[in-house]
């Protein structure tokens, strides 16, 4: 009897069908694969990606050169030089982050009293030449300018949990 059943299974390709069942299920189930770069996975508003320096809505840079981020950075990735600006306010003359040193811990963002340095949710970037790993103030501000809306939204989303 059992031999007979085995034979029938063999002739009807039962094992194959059992195997195909799994395939079939995944064929019609919701796909997890995404089409990078056209698609991307969702990220948390807390995602710690590429850094940016923000501005106030009136265009004034937020950073006041308090150097707390430089002090707190465990990887010593931040370098700041400060001096009085022409209007006597305290500003940075140099603000550099070495992305090779950075460990993306987010302490800089935590320590910032004016929400100036932030880690955006940007995670896709690359360097083609040596030296590009050091982001200077202009670059950081440019990123901030470009993604200000996203940064502000992420900050607002997360505000309740801070």
């Amino acid at each position: 009897m059992s031999q007979f059943l085995e034979k029938i299974k063999s002739f009807t390709l039962w094992e194959l069908l059992v195997g195909m069942k799994l395939t079939g299920r995944y064929l019609f189930s919701k796909k997890v694969t995404i089409q990078f770069p056209e698609e991307s996975t969702p990220t948390s508003p807390r995602f710690r990606g590429l850094h940016a320096l923000r501005r106030y809505p009136n265009g004034e840079e937020r950073c006041i050169a308090c150097k707390l981020c430089e002090a707190v950075c465990p990887a010593l990735a931040i370098t700041i030089e400060a001096a009085p600006r022409a209007d006597n306010s305290r500003r940075t003359t140099v603000y550099e982050i070495d992305l090779f040193k950075c460990i993306y811990c987010g302490f800089c963002e935590e320590s910032c009293p004016v929400d100036s340095i932030v880690e955006t949710t940007l995670k896709n970037y690359h360097f083609t030449q040596r030296g590009q790993n050091i982001m200077n103030k202009q670059e950081l501000l440019a990123i901030g300018d470009e993604f200000e809306q996203d940064i502000a939204r992420d900050k607002a989303d997360d505000a309740a949990f801070r």
């Binding site: 430089e70 002090a71 001096a83 306010s89």
Partner: protein, 789 residues
């Protein structure tokens, strides 16, 4: 008689009359405070140091409560802590929350104490007070909104600086600290209020926003600007000197430093620094590497020795050089056979040099100056020349001492001297002779220098000084720059010593530069070698060197047009010389003309070294930063030159080997006794008639580092090159303030503006040195002709 008290359960035996906070500080028990400072009077107004004293219902301020027998103090009981926390809250309600942009952040007493005694949340939800900032000049930045009214700065001005510049205005919440009439602070110690301010209300202006306290590395240093040798903390960051703050040394500078010590570091980054060796080839300056430069120097020096002789080289070194540099400088030149070495660049008379001790040393320690009963200053503007010695003199005056000034100018001091004997500069020896005659006559000891004394008539002012000297137990006579640089300096020194002998007193020299004592000890003088041994043949002093117009000069950190007396003579000698080698940190326009080789050497804070201060204290220090650019520490340059010239004994590896060698020389050599007694002339030299120049170095023109410090040059104390004269003289010459005049001396002439001052006397006119504008005059103390252009 000591009494016993108890603080926090521990018993202490203390002197009665001490305050609780002093006992606690000595025992390491922390009591928070803002207004209390150990060097200032007790104000007891911040109320932060309230402690719980048994048998007292209310908490008492530890800073103003004297200890009593059996007192039981609790600094951390509920009563004490409640009071301290309450005061903290009151102080914080109107204090801005701007720590991130405040320069005091990270080194702030309010921040530190708030961490321990403040709350994390404020109960104060109303508008905070804001206060208009005051402009206190180029050294001190203000942010008066941060002020917590501890009044330390006010008390500093009144009690230490001696000028009541700061005060509190308004009452209650509207109290403001300020100068009332907006003005720059003019005290030479003013910037100490930066250190005193417990918050960020008064901060260092040149240092503003440039670094955070936690980024700085602290190095110990010694001030290179005067003979006090103030101890410094040099704060550096990324190989740059960011600022200088005082290092406490009770015996020297207490907790203070002068503004000159604090802000001279701004000159280190001047664009006029030379950062690489340079040679003049066919009238053009070329930057070369060290090897070429050193080789050129060696060849040039050998050339001079061959064509002339080694003693046709003049070696002139700054009295601000370190012991190591001075020692190697003289060793190098003496090794070549040249004894023309001198560091006394501001002096014009060297007659007394044989009678000098091995090195000049104050007869009392700096700290003991404040215990003196009578201090006589001859020819000294001590407040500007040695601010911290002047501070001790002022303290002595405050303690009831008499202070007598014998000066050619009625210098403005921060106290009123008991007596000021004002005479024309050329009549200073006459005044001293008169005083000596009074003393000799009252002591019936008139044999010494009889003729000289008889040649001078005694005035009541002379007698008054003499009476004061006789009535004091052990008067201290100090000779300032005006006496040491005087054309009759030797005679004046001899007379001062005679005055001291007759009145049972002591004489001290307030020497120019940071290391004159070291220079004498290592033998940076033409007539003596290291440790005061006489040299085989006497050589030329600095003035003879200029007059002899030698074919070669080696200048170590000296800018003759600024630093030397009789500057025009110096410039003339240098311009005719075939070879001028400058070891220098700064290049000046004049130097470009006269120099042939420039070797860049390290400046202040860039070289290790040793200074011997005016009380004979050796103070060694390490370099805080590496020298700028290609410049190298002076002692290393000299060492390599010694090697290249194949001289013996130049194989030093570290600078301490040099000082070790000097120390061992000092223990084995017994310096010869100074030459016999001074032979007094039979009469005073004839006094020339006409207008006479008095030359002095203004406080912020004293050396090259100071001259290049921009903030110091902008202060009210910095001077411009003018010719200062009394109103009477101006009237006689028909001149008004601001008139441009031609000041001529023989063939040399300079054009200066007239400044009229009631502080000048007779026909003496003040023309400062340290300026290119006045460098064209050949004699620092000679007669001058003043003509309207």
């Amino acid at each position: 008689m000591k009494i016993e008290i108890e603080i926090d359960g521990k018993s202490f035996e203390v002197e009665p009359g001490k305050m609780i906070i002093e006992v606690a500080d000595a025992a390491g028990i922390v009591i928070p405070r803002f207004c209390y400072h150990k060097k200032l009077s007790v104000a007891a107004n911040c109320r932060m140091c309230l402690v719980d004293v048994e048998k007292s219902r209310k908490p008492l301020p530890a800073c103003a409560t004297p200890v009593t027998p059996g007192m039981v103090v609790r600094t951390r009981s509920k009563l004490a802590l409640d009071a301290q926390k309450a005061v903290m809250e009151f102080l914080l309600i109107n204090h801005p929350l701007d720590c991130p942009i405040c320069d005091q952040g990270g080194q702030c007493e309010l921040q530190d104490i708030a961490l321990g005694y403040g709350s994390d949340n404020s109960r104060y939800d109303q508008g905070k007070r804001s206060v208009k900032d005051k402009n206190l000049g180029p050294l001190i930045e203000t942010e008066m909104t941060r002020c917590i009214h501890c009044t330390r700065c006010v008390r500093f001005g009144r009690e230490i600086a001696g000028i009541s510049e700061m005060g509190s205005i308004g009452r209650g919440e509207d109290t403001e600290i300020g100068t009332y009439v907006e003005k720059s602070l003019t005290s030479e110690l003013s910037a100490n209020i930066i250190d005193l301010c417990p918050v960020g209300a008064l901060t260092n202006k040149p240092f503003r926003y440039r670094a955070r306290a936690w980024e700085l590395t602290q190095h110990s240093g010694v001030s290179p600007h005067d003979c006090v040798g103030s101890n410094l903390h040099i704060h550096t960051r990324r190989n740059a000197v960011m600022r200088v703050v005082p290092k406490e040394n009770e015996g020297i500078n207490e907790t203070w430093i002068s503004d000159r010590d604090r802000f001279s570091c701004e000159g280190l980054s001047s664009p006029e620094r030379v950062t690489s060796p340079q040679l003049k080839r066919h009238g053009q300056w070329e930057t070369v590497d060290w090897q070429t430069a050193l080789q050129t120097v060696v060849e040039a020096l050998q050339d001079v020795t061959e064509h002339h002789s080694a003693d046709r080289i003049g070696g002139i070194i700054s009295p601000n050089a370190t012991v190591e540099e001075l020692f190697l400088f003289q060793k190098l030149l003496r090794g070549m056979g040249c004894h023309n070495i001198d560091h006394r660049i501001t002096q014009t008379d060297f007659h007394y040099q044989q009678a000098m001790p091995t090195y000049p040393k104050l007869p009392v320690s700096i700290a003991d100056i404040e215990q003196q009963e009578l201090i006589v200053v001859i020819g000294g503007n001590t407040q500007h020349e040695q601010p911290l010695i002047h501070h001790r003199i002022r303290k002595a005056w405050d303690n009831g001492a008499k202070v007598i000034m014998i000066n050619p100018v009625d210098f403005e001091f921060n106290f009123t001297p008991t007596q000021t004997l004002l005479v024309e500069n050329r009549r200073l020896p006459e005044a001293l002779t008169g005083v000596t005659r009074c003393l000799a006559e009252s002591q019936q000891d008139t044999e010494i220098a009889k003729d000289l004394l008889q040649s001078v008539a005694v005035t009541p002012a002379h007698r008054e000084v003499a009476d004061a000297l006789l009535s004091a137990k052990a008067p201290l006579i100090l000779l300032g720059a005006g006496a040491q640089n005087h054309p009759q300096a030797g005679l004046m020194y001899a007379l001062a010593e005679r005055m001291a002998q007759l009145s049972n007193g002591n004489v001290g020299l307030l020497t120019a530069g940071a290391n004159a004592a070291g220079a004498w000890l290592v033998g940076a003088v033409p007539h003596r070698g290291p440790t005061g041994l006489n040299v085989s043949k006497p050589a030329l002093d600095v003035q003879r060197m200029w007059e002899s117009e030698l074919p070669a000069y080696v200048l170590f950190n000296v800018e003759p047009e600024h630093d030397c007396a009789n500057s025009a003579k110096a410039l003339k000698a240098l311009s005719q010389a075939a070879l001028v080698i400058c070891l220098t940190s700064y290049k000046t326009p004049a130097m470009e003309q006269y120099a042939d080789i420039i070797l860049p050497i390290a400046s202040f804070a860039e070289t290790p070294g040793t200074f011997i201060n005016v009380e004979g204290r050796w103070q060694s220090f390490q370099a805080a930063v590496i020298p700028k650019g290609e410049s190298r520490p002076g002692w290393k340059v000299l060492r390599v030159l010694g090697n290249l010239l194949s001289l013996d004994g130049f194989n030093y590896v570290v600078n301490t080997e040099v000082t070790d060698e000097l120390r061992s020389l000092a223990t084995t050599n017994t310096p010869e006794q100074p030459a016999g007694p001074w032979r007094y002339p039979s009469h005073l030299p004839t006094v020339s008639e006409g207008v006479e120049r008095f030359c002095y170095w203004p406080i912020y023109r004293s050396d090259s580092v100071v001259r290049h410090s921009q903030p110091l040059q902008k202060t009210p104390l910095s001077e411009t090159p003018v010719v200062t004269m009394s109103p009477q003289l101006a009237q006689r010459l028909g001149l008004e303030a601001g008139t441009e005049v031609k000041v001529s001396q023989g063939g040399d002439a300079v054009v200066l503006q007239v400044c009229i001052s009631h502080r000048m006397v007779g026909d003496t006119v003040g023309i400062a040195a340290g300026f290119l504008e006045t460098a064209g005059l050949a004699e620092s103390f000679g007669t001058v002709k003043i003509e309207r252009i």
